[in-house]
Amino acid sequence: MDTTVPEMRISQPLPESDPGSFPEQVEEALQPAHSEIRRYLLARGNSAVADRLFKLLMLLCALSIFMIVALIAYQLVDKSELNWAQSGIKFFYTAFSDPYTNQPQYWDPVNGHFSALPFVYGTLVSSFLALLLAVPLAIGVAIFLTEMCPGFLRGPLAFLTELLAAIPSIIYGLWAIFVLVPLLRQYVNPALIKTMGWTGLFVDDNPTGLGYVAAGIILAIMILPIISSLTREVMMAVPHSQREAVLALGATRWEMIRTGVLRNARIGIVGAIILGLGRALGETMAVTMVIGNTPEIHKSLLSNGASMASVIANEFAEATSDLHRSALVEIGLALFVVTIIVNAIAQLLVWAVTRGTPRQVH
């Protein structure tokens, strides 16, 4: 609760004091009483120039954030021009077909055939799996933390989820390689093949334990704290009067949560999920370490694949030709554009909910 207090203070506009003209007014009013501080300050002269300079400097810092986005966009477009000229938008949905075997050659740096299709597919599949696993859990945690948790547990649990968000992806990847993947190889994957093999999504063709499922699980663990902490924030922004009103009508706690809280917070929760999706799409190291890194498309979720970020991480430093590098930059450009759009949508949705609420309370 205490975190919302400063928010409320922020939302109220300041009484506008015009700092530029302030000293002069005071000067007239205080003419007779020349205190020592006053004399000292007067001796330093007019501060209008310094003030304006300072404001301009800070403004430049703020504007530099726009410039960075523009710079990234320019560099990515500029350095991917070669590949764009070669294959255009087709880069993302077609593949070169080998005339002898009729097999698609998605990614063949030696012969200069490049298609981003397997990477787009890998990114989408692993992110979708991650959302499927993470969203119900994250909402459950948020419900527990905001509505059910005894007070003494709330602080430590919120801290733990915060910590989970601060662990670098390389450490998740390390843990995934040495703990998660062996676990999947030995127990989970055989069980999945046995029980769900009939769907055709779990085929026993990859004995390593790496693949889309491993990537999806580690991504789910990584985006869980982001989704749950944002959902929690959005749920806490729902005014208490809503809860009290529903409870007063005789609702149970779950009915109160469902109708009073979740329904009011749903736009923000969707925003939180989309923000989690944005993180999952761009996540690099942990995915690179467990997805298997083969530029192919498989229907089986247990097969090796590659994601857009993982192929850049794997091949960029050793790109063999200008076209190869340019193709990788274009994948990066696609990643940039998609994450910008996804994050912008998510941010707008979350703002729509959390921003208006303090005013409703009054």
């Binding site: 501060s47 990234i72 450490i171």
Partner: protein
């Protein structure tokens, strides 16, 4: 409706309520479990392989036992130094603009929005940008361009720090009570002076911890360093050469076939996580204890 159906329905609703409570608790346990597993395994593996050599020696040649990550720790320090030279002043400056000058204006909202969006841009894209900016171009009279270098890695990390530092310093500056600003202005202190030595100074514990959080975040970043700082098996503190970094070294060792290098990777991961947990706890302490809020 008869009384019995009513009773049945209310029982059903109560059961539903209990079921959801159980599910929520189960979800929380399921989320805490991997965290506990990661931490336990990390501490178990890391502590058993951490020794003095780790902090004092450079990596052993491929396939040989022993060695440490001294160069990677120093390298990470150098990279963070470059990153903070870029990220901290610009980040705090834009935070000051948002909190002091741009309140409620459209421009400030746009900056805030862009900073949040920039925060979500994948770190690998920052790496590609730094590559395109510094590693790629060959210009004869600028010798720091055109090759893998610590500078390019630091630039990539520095760009990543800006939005985090900006948002956290804005938040901290907004916590400073208006009475303090008004008191300074009432004494006739120029606005820039009051901002720098009154507002920013009051908020400085918060701003510093915000910077530390940004440090913690970029200290663990690997993706932007893969093709900028590149990594180095030897001692190097030159900005003009490839440099080792802790997360990069962990990555290289994690995917290597040697058992002894796996051991070092775990030790490196433990060192990294201890630094990060310290930073996060400090931030939480400062923001929750009301160093700024109540007492000032």
């Amino acid at each position: 409706m008869s009384t019995s159906t009513l009773q049945f329905r209310s029982k059903l609703r109560a059961a539903n309520d209990h079921a959801v409570t159980c599910l929520a608790i189960l979800a929380t346990i399921l989320v805490i479990a991997p965290l506990a597993a990661i931490f336990a395994y990390l501490i178990y593996k890391g502590a058993s392989s951490l020794n003095w050599d780790f902090f004092t020696k450079v990596p052993a040649p491929e396939g040989e036992l022993g060695g440490g990550m001294a160069n990677a720790i120093v390298g990470s320090g150098v990279l963070l130094g470059v990153a903070s030279v870029i990220g901290v002043p610009i980040g705090i400056g834009s935070g000051i603009y948002l909190a002091e000058f741009g309140r409620g204006t459209k421009l400030a909202n746009a900056v805030r929005f862009t900073a949040d969006v920039l925060n979500g841009v994948p770190s690998i894209v920052m790496g590609v940008t730094a590559y395109a900016l510094i590693v790629f171009p060959h210009i004869a009279f600028l010798p720091f361009l055109g090759h893998f270098s610590a500078l390019s890695g630091g630039v990539a990390l520095g760009i990543m720090m800006i939005p985090t530092v900006c948002r956290s310093s804005e938040e901290m500056l907004l916590m400073v009570p208006h009475a303090i600003r008004e008191a300074a202005l009432g004494l006739g202190v120029p606005n820039w002076r009051s901002t720098l030595s009154i507002t920013v100074k009051t908020a400085s514990p918060g701003i510093i911890t915000g910077c530390m959080l940004a440090f913690a975040r970029v200290a663990g970043e690997t993706a932007p360093l893969l093709f900028t700082a590149l990594g180095n098996q030897f001692w190097s503190t030159s900005l003009n050469e490839p440099i080792a970094a802790l997360p990069l070294q962990i990555f290289n060792y994690a995917i290597s076939p040697y058992e002894d290098q796996h051991r070092l990777a775990w030790a490196g991961a433990l060192v990294l996580i201890v630094l990060i947990v310290l930073a996060v706890s400090l931030v939480r302490y400062v923001t929750s204890r009301g160093v700024l809020k109540g007492n000032s």
